[in-house]
């Protein structure tokens, strides 16, 4: 403790101060960075009961994704006014791209442009794998199960689901922008139980990042993966083939579909649930078609 003198020293507006560095901006940021590092190294930060670490997510993980979001995919957003400011809602989006980069971009869009932390519901495969499991929890996501979905919606969180699951993300390039089956509608039942609105979301652009032309089933089975993709660049170019193609993206949010008119008990009525699931699916398919027309070519500077 000998070196740690108390900070109650009269602030010296010393000549050493470099005025050229626009008004203390750099030392301030340095002090902030030091305070951040101190919190991280001493463990004095909070995570919620799901393991979400907002600070790490914002300052480190999303920071790594932002260049990809802004400069590589040049993501554009529409319909942000439909995202509720601080109440619970269920974002339902299409899933595509062979590697679920769309989930990450959706998270950046909602975090940076709508000021909401999206809590995605992921497959249980994610939680069995080392690294992925704890990164997923730390960035706010959790297992797709009824208990977690209900709990998050009750707490007024913005929950996100990709009901197509692996069927969507791993579909061949020829099937692009064609929505697959929407699971068993569990997400709709959760929304009805919580009375939370469903926010249909269309993501255009992710289909072109890794065009999946083939699938080596034997390798997939060996590695315990749902599929082993062949794309124009992977695995031919090795690690270079992992670079996603720079397609132009649009993430659009549609008008919320209200569920508070239903009785929560209707979540147990399969007819209500399946009809609403179909309605959500058609809405997103329509949004996709519109946004795709609006975007035009997938690689605008090239074509």
């Amino acid at each position: 403790m000998a070196n740690a003198q108390p900070a109650k020293v009269i602030p010296i507006t010393s000549a050493r101060e470099d005025r050229a560095r626009n008004d203390d901006g750099v030392p301030d940021r340095l002090a902030e960075a030091l305070a951040y590092l101190r919190r991280r190294i001493t463990g004095e930060y909070d995570v919620d009961e799901f393991g979400y670490d907002p600070e790490l997510t914002d300052k480190v993980l999303l920071e790594l994704l932002r260049p990809l979001y802004r400069h590589w995919f040049r993501v554009e957003t529409t319909g942000l006014e439909h995202v509720p400011a601080d109440t619970g809602a269920l974002v339902v989006a299409n899933h595509s791209g062979t590697v679920p980069v769309d989930a990450l971009m959706l998270q950046v869009a909602l975090h940076d442009e709508a000021g909401r932390a999206v809590r995605l519901l992921g497959a249980d495969l994610v939680y069995q794998l080392p690294f992925l499991s704890h990164l997923s929890r730390k960035t706010g996501h959790t297992l797709a199960c009824r208990e977690d979905a209900d709990r998050l919606l009750r707490k007024g969180e913005l929950v996100g689901v990709f009901p197509e699951g692996f069927k969507g993300v791993g579909k061949p390039f020829s099937e692009r922008y064609k929505l697959q089956r929407f699971g068993r509608g569990g997400f709709v039942a959760s929304a009805i139980r919580a009375g939370a609105p469903i926010l249909p979301c269309a993501i255009v652009g992710a289909e072109e990042i890794y065009p999946k032309l083939g699938d080596v089933k034997v390798l997939a089975r060996m590695l315990g993966l749902p599929y082993f993709p062949i794309t124009p660049l992977f695995p031919w170019l090795g690690p270079l083939g992992l670079i996603p193609l720079p397609s132009k993206w649009i993430i659009g949010f549609g008008e919320p579909i209200r569920t508070d008119e239903y009785d929560p008990a209707e979540a147990e009525d399969p007819m209500v649930v399946l009809n609403l699931t179909d309605h959500v699916r058609e809405t997103i398919q329509q949004q996709l078609t519109e946004l795709r027309l609006r975007r035009g070519h997938a690689f605008p500077p090239l074509f």
Binding site: T42, E49, S133, R137, L143, R151
Partner: protein, 343 residues
């Protein structure tokens, strides 16, 4: 009305503290403490002073416990004696299982015979929920664990709860409370987990950072006291608010970690257990990968009370009591920020 309370497991820390706090309550006429070994003396071994608790040495696995219950006109039974890990004092895994499961059966059999027993409080553990990648993030009391625990302490506790449910069905006139405690944490707690954090370098599973939840011993004792004095039938989770990630715990404790891939971790765990170094059971290894958190809203609503220590506060209190080397990195950062502020 008169109260005569029987507390099991008084030779161990939590049991002794419960007996001590009940003995200090003037509302209670007699406190009988039982265990298989005599409690450590407060003077010599730093045991908890038991006050006016009358100690009776009984092997829970034998029918002798029935005689104690009948002879002392017991009306409240607080069953704290649940051994969490095989050790030198508690013996092998087989003895531990006998102690936990057969001991509870004998105790409940004696309670069922007694016409005077009105209240039974049983200590269980959140380990009954198991720990798996398919778990919901937060368990409520009615949750069905996707993978029920298949061995060790967690399986014992699951079986104990089964017998307790059977007893509650056969004696609907008796108030039965089952308390599922998160891992105890605090100055006096000696458990596999507190011993884990007392090592200078802790092994962790590479690529996993589990969520852990602790209950401070003071809060645990308070819940057991309330349950022993009032009627709160049902099953309740007991844990401090919030969670800590394992990485946060080791950073707070200023420990070094040694990340080990999970197959090797299991092997090393078996080796260390064989050598008697640490007693890390397979369920604890699963906890080190997938973690677990429980919902405590039901207990808060039932008692109108919240734990005084959050999970983080309980862990900090444990660290303070152990005087673990903490704060070197913090001092470095404070010095750097101070230097920056002085510029």
């Amino acid at each position: 009305m008169t109260h005569t309370v029987l507390v099991t497991g008084v030779a161990r820390h939590i049991g002794a503290r419960v007996a001590s706090v009940l003995a200090a309550d003037p509302e209670i006429d007699r406190v009988i403490g039982v265990d298989t070994v005599p409690p450590p003396s407060p003077a010599k071994h730093g045991g908890v002073p038991l006050g006016r608790t009358e100690f009776v040495r009984v092997d829970l696995r034998s029918p002798d416990i029935a005689e104690v219950i009948a002879a002392a006109d017991i009306d409240t039974v607080v069953h704290v004696s649940l051994v969490s890990a095989p050790s030198r004092s508690a013996g092998s895994r087989a003895r531990m299982k006998e102690h936990n499961v057969i001991g509870t059966m004998q105790l409940l059999a004696a309670c069922q015979r007694s016409a005077l027993v009105r209240r039974v409080v049983v200590r269980s553990t959140t380990a009954v929920y198991g720990s798996s990648p398919r778990d919901p993030a937060v368990f409520t009391e009615d949750a069905e664990p996707p993978e029920a625990p298949s061995h060790g302490y967690a399986k014992d506790a699951t079986e104990v709860e089964g017998y307790v449910r059977g007893f509650a069905r056969r004696r609907p006139d008796v108030t039965v409370s089952t308390l599922r405690f998160a891992n105890f944490m605090g100055p006096g707690v000696d458990s596999p987990l507190t011993r884990y954090f007392a090592q200078p370098m802790v092994p962790t599973v590479l690529g996993f950072d589990p969520r852990l939840q602790f209950v401070h011993e003071d809060d645990g004792v308070e819940v057991l006291r309330r349950m022993a004095l009032e009627d709160h039938p049902g099953t309740y989770n007991v844990a401090g608010d919030g969670v800590l990630l394992l990485s946060q715990c080791v950073r707070r404790a200023g420990l070094l970690t040694m990340p080990i891939p999970s197959p090797a971790f299991r092997m090393l765990g078996d080796l260390a257990r064989g050598a008697g170094l640490v007693d890390f059971s397979p369920e604890q290894l699963r906890l080190m990968r997938f973690g677990r958190a429980v919902d405590t809203a039901a207990l808060a609503a039932e008692l109108g009370w919240r734990p005084k220590f959050t999970t983080a506060a309980a862990f900090d209190d444990f660290l303070r009591s152990r005087d673990l080397p903490n704060g070197l990195p913090a001092v470095v950062f404070d010095w750097a920020s101070g230097a920056l502020a002085r510029r």
